[in-house]
Symmetry: C2
Subunit: 746 residues, 2 copies
């Protein structure tokens, strides 16, 4: 939990904190503060449309927005990430002590890390393909051999059995080792890069399960995309490297301490997600644009070059390894594994008829993309209902789907007619005893089964086959190459589901290595995206909403213009004195999950109550653990704390690895001692005046990637802080719960 | 001038404003305010390195940073752009009145505009090439014919004379019509997109001169890049279309009023600059990445798709027109004009030796790139010294350079040996009577002059020739294709001068249509950029600094961490009362160039002095022009102003087109009347507390694209505003003038 919110309403309500000696604003005073602000926003609403002049009644003062979300397949608590640079005395001392050497070290490390991310992601991407091609290839060969012996039922048992075992293993490792690895992974990575941290989402165990789960799943014949798992894998690798290994597995590294903060980790994970796409499609520029367009919420110019470097490393690694495999040293891995279309026909010119056909394709893709997203949402909701019942049910669900899939892919080809082998086939036809594109199935010699060629192949080969058959359907309408039409169809559908445009465009360009079809791809994407956008959101955004993640949009919602920052501040606010009693701090940390506490100096520490800044929960815990306590409530020079602690003691530990208040013990004597919070207080938190328009406060919050935004009073003579805004306070559900009369359309 | 700065010190100092009845903080009180803040920053400096503990003495309180800059070839005043959303009563009323229809209209218009930008830029780009190929082609043919008749001196006169006339015309239209069109144009566009507006930088006259000036200049044999002029042209086109035509030339359009603000114009101009690169190199993806990497200071996800759409339109237009020209209907315009390399050899693999050669190439490119930037800076400084003397000197300078260029390009080939024509030449060799790549020059039949082929060609053909000859030099070292080496050499040099990486990479990819060389290009770019970065800045950044433009960097400088916002605030601050006397406003507008004035309500308008917000100069001028005055100093409901004015009356006019204070006349009676500023006051200006770290204030200022950042006091009992920070207050020269003891390295 970020700021000053109460735990979610379905948990037991906490006891009121002990207030002795502490400068706390209780609920009433916070209430009063927002009431003052509220008057201002009522004035704002005075000129509203006729007939709807009811005052904006505010319903309650606590934020009951859920602090939990679905991550992978499990429900777990979420935290926000801290991108703000903390400026306290300790860190300033550290800055001053940093020499040129350390800065140079940092830069070299950064580049080494992105190089490593590229190398590892490239290797994993290649390993994935190699494993799938070999496992699935073995399975398909076994089935094919049995079918050649006319032992059709045994063949089905072998085929279905292999699928079942593979699927069940995938489900089991996911359910028992890392439930966070379930699903595409892109929504989780996107949410992480937006500042939402969930337990284990990028943990080493998740990485392990993601790699092997997707290998097993794809080998089991499930139709899984490679983009999502690879993006998640890349992000996990980046996180693992950036954390200096994992303390859990005793793989730590002290020289990575510079990266122990959310800002640098964010950069690395952005590179990782770009590397993932690059590894999935061997598309380095496409990977960069994917990170820019879809994954990252914050982008800096320096990041462009760094992500590009990472994806280029991936491309080089893949190129080298595929070259190595061409010599036949990789088992059943032949040309396959990494799609590379060859549009043999160049596109010299296109007629009006072709353009019409392409526009129709765009419309179809848009409609079907929207429909796909709608159905996916329903299915995922149904799944998560089953998933909630526990791990055995997850495995059962997977097994059921595996059996259905096996039955379909084995049964359907029987309905397809046998096609005579083309005379000019480059490959052996029908393919016997090896993986290939012309599957004999039940057909007589010299013939192949088209549907079997689709189902009895690994995904990449199947896509190639699918494209060439689909493209043929449009042959009568247009003179363009069927392969090109098939590619445009894929673009159209992708535009309709994912709503990415530039990156899809560039990925397809990189797959086909033909720039001349660019205008056609753009046209089809523009149409399908526009049409699908009128139905619903993009698939990843939709999943983020479904999972309940508090995603911050880049723009403010129109209704926020009618509110001010003070309107949405929710209580109770717990603040500390600059020199605070240990007991009060411990109590506050125990009864709330707040991450940031305002520090206020009151007389005699200052002439009048004065806002010193903001202190973070994690920093308080380090200070408490180090027991830097004093007997009396006096303001010190801070040198005691500055000597006892270094800045890196306060560096952010990996997710869930910092000290916890439950693990700390204090004697009664210690509880009555005092601690000087000034050295660890961020003296430059970003603030807004309570009458600041909520829309502009939201823009500030999002543009700077904040976790806490302090709201200060406009008029003098009041306590120096009104409240803290966090991510959850900008969520539409919170605002609409507070102001049920607010028009959504405004 | 942006905020509260005095005019530049070399202008005559203004008289003190009349203070009667107005709530102004005079210099003394502002001074006191910063002195309070200064104490805080002295405390910050307490732990400084040993030996350098002298207090940070602040030298003066006014910002003497120059408010003028060199734009093109002339010195002119600069203004900042307003990207902040103004939230005042008038605009809020307008929001409420906007219906779905208007929003739809806005979206359709936006897409139509970017479509138009793409179309126009594509057409202009093609027209440029066509004109150059024809004019220069005619000139070269004439010279060639005379040389064939052995009339070498006449040939030189014809050649030099053509060049002279073309060069002089280019210089004349630039000097007399639009001096802002001089130079590359990229630094100016980059500065504009950073928020720096200069008179006429994107005006229609600039567009006209840019197009014809670059045609004449290139035809005159000057070695000019096409990227810069095309980017500037694209930006001018975007600005022209976004302004709804030009009022000066009676080409206005009322339905474009939605775009009369700096935010939407910024988006359009970003699209325009991307379109320019796309038109120069026929590289749509490269254009987008150029805009992202080099041109734009602020980027939104929505912009990606819009710029890509624009550049795709450019690509389609160029493709169509070049196809049309293939049929020979465009005079001397043949295959030329738009570079498209064909690397015939594929790159199957590269050895260690090749990699070493490429690394050497990268180092050479980096060193020469840095040297080039250094020399360019010196030459441009010398030129601007001459340019300052007036238009005739500019033309004289151009003529001198033209004569030198002509003499060199005519003279040097005489020193080159004649090469026998290759047996397998695809083209006619030597080329006689038409433009081509094998120039006979003084050579006997069957031979060609290599240098003449370089000099006696239009730029694009020359680059092709240069590449194939340069590449051959490295033949002995490496087995790679000479053409590829030449391309890598170009990348290396571009990386060393421009320091763009991803966009150069992608532009080269798009020119060659070969993705497989990507890793090599990246390697060479990485090396050359890194090396050159250790010498100096990129060429465009260097020119921006040389021209004196107050460019805001995305990151804060390290020394800013040691200062607080209150430290750099400079006086005098002029503020208005919520209901202000007309005379005071007129006086303030007359004696200062400030763009924003804080509005403060004092008793009896409020209980205590209270900051209402910020009012803009342009809005005040509209209000004064409309004479919305009252007899008495009373707070109204604002309905008077709300009825008299619409939000679009306050929309931003084109550069230099709004009402001016000098043009307004007031009677003595009017001067003693009052005006209610509340309806036009932006009630949600962004504020920081005076003790906010300057580094974090700078990040806020830059991330949100602000023009004014209000600094409010930390402690109660003081006037509610300390000062206003503008772009100029964050400039290193201002800060180092204020604090001469500040260590730059910190």
């Amino acid at each position: 939990m970020d700021g000053h919110h109460l735990p979610p309403s379905h948990q037991s309500p906490p006891a009121q904190p002990e207030r002795r000696g502490s400068f706390n604003y209780d609920i009433e005073s916070t209430d009063a503060a927002w009431r003052g602000a509220h008057t201002a926003s009522e004035a704002l609403m005075r000129y509203d449309d006729d007939g709807t002049r009811e005052p904006l009644l505010r319903k309650r003062t606590t934020n009951t927005t859920s602090q939990i979300a679905i991550v992978g397949a499990n429900v777990c608590p979420i935290e926000s990430l801290d991108y703000e640079i903390v400026e306290n005395d300790l860190i300033k001392q550290d800055w001053r002590s940093r020499k040129k050497k350390q800065i140079f070290q940092y830069i070299v490390l950064k580049w080494s890390l992105v190089l490593l991310i590229g190398l590892c992601t490239g290797l994993v991407g290649f390993f994935n393909n190699l494993a799938v091609e070999n496992i699935a290839g073995f399975k398909l060969l076994l089935t094919g051999d049995l079918m050649l012996q006319k032992r059709y039922f045994t063949a089905f048992l072998a085929y279905g059995g292999c699928n079942l075992v593979l699927a069940a293993s995938a489900a089991a490792i996911c359910a028992y080792i890392a439930p966070a690895a379930a699903g595409s992974g892109i929504p989780e990575v996107k949410a992480y890069l937006n500042g939402i941290d969930a337990y284990a989402i990028l943990a080493p165990s998740t990485l392990f399960v993601k790699i092997f789960g997707s290998i097993l799943g794809v080998s089991a014949g499930f139709v899984l995309g490679k983009e999502g798992p690879m993006v998640h894998t890349g992000a996990c690798i980046a996180n693992l490297l950036g954390q200096g290994g994992s303390r859990k597995y005793h793989l730590t590294c002290n020289w990575l301490r510079y990266f122990k903060n959310d800002r640098d980790r964010r950069d690395l994970i952005t590179c990782g997600s770009a590397a993932g796409v690059a590894a999935a499609f061997r598309a380095p520029v496409g990977g960069v644009l994917f990170a820019l367009e879809e994954a990252a919420s914050w982008w800096r110019s320096a990041l462009l070059w760094r992500t590009f470097f990472t994806t280029a490393v991936v491309a080089v690694v893949l190129r080298g390894l595929i070259g190595f495999c061409r010599s036949g040293k990789c088992g059943l891995f032949g040309q396959g594994g990494l799609i590379m279309f060859d549009l043999s026909a160049t596109i010299p010119s296109y007629s009006t008829q072709d353009i019409v056909a392409i526009i129709v394709l765009g419309i179809i893709g848009g409609v079907f993309g929207g429909l796909f997203n709608f159905l996916l949402d329903r299915i995922l909701r149904a799944y998560s209902f089953i998933n909630e019942k526990g791990a055995p049910y997850k495995i059962l669900l997977t097994i059921t789907i595996s059996i259905i899939t096996s039955a379909c892919s084995y049964g359907l080809p029987w309905l397809a007619p046998c096609t005579p082998c083309p005379a000019d086939a480059v490959e052996q036809c029908p393919t016997i005893g090896r993986s290939g594109n012309y599957k004999n199935f039940q057909c007589p010699p010299g013939h192949y089964n088209g549907l079997a060629s689709l189902f009895f192949n690994t995904n990449d080969d199947a896509i190639r086959n699918l494209f060439s058959s689909v493209g043929t359907l449009l042959g009568p309408i247009s003179d363009l190459d069927p392969g090109l039409f098939a590619l445009l169809g894929a673009a159209s559908f992708l535009g309709g589901t994912m709503r990415m445009t530039v990156s899809v465009c560039v990925i397809l360009l990189e797959l086909t290595n033909d720039l001349l079809m660019l205008p056609l791809v753009m046209l089809v994407l523009l149409i399908s995206k526009t049409i699908a956008d009128s139905f619903n959101k993009g698939v990843y955004d939709q999943i983020i909403v479904m999972k309940g993640m508090p995603f911050l949009e880049a723009h403010a919602e129109p209704y926020m213009r009618h509110l001010v920052a003070g309107d949405v501040v929710s209580g109770p606010l717990i603040s500390f004195s600059g020199v605070e009693r240990v007991g009060n701090i411990v109590q506050a940390l125990r009864i709330t999950g707040h991450n940031g506490f305002p520090v206020v100096d009151e007389p005699p520490l200052s002439e009048a109550p004065e806002l010193v800044g903001l202190v973070l929960r994690s920093h308080l815990l380090v200070l408490l653990k180090g027991k830097g306590f004093m007997k009396d409530k006096v303001k010190t020079s801070g040198s005691f704390v500055l000597k006892k602690f270094g800045a890196f003691d306060f560096a952010k530990a990996g997710s869930g690895k910092g000290p916890k208040i439950e693990d700390l013990d204090f004697t009664d004597e210690e509880m009555d001692m005092y601690v000087d919070l000034h050295p660890i207080t961020n003296t430059s938190p970003y603030t807004v005046v309570e009458t600041m328009s909520l829309a502009k406060a939201a823009v500030l919050f999002r543009a700077l990637g904040l976790r806490h935004l302090l709201v200060v009073p406009k008029t003098p003579g009041r306590p120096p802080i009104v409240g803290i805004l966090t991510r959850h306070d900008f969520m539409p559900e919170h605002i609409h719960e507070l102001f049920p009369n607010l028009h959504k359309s405004h």
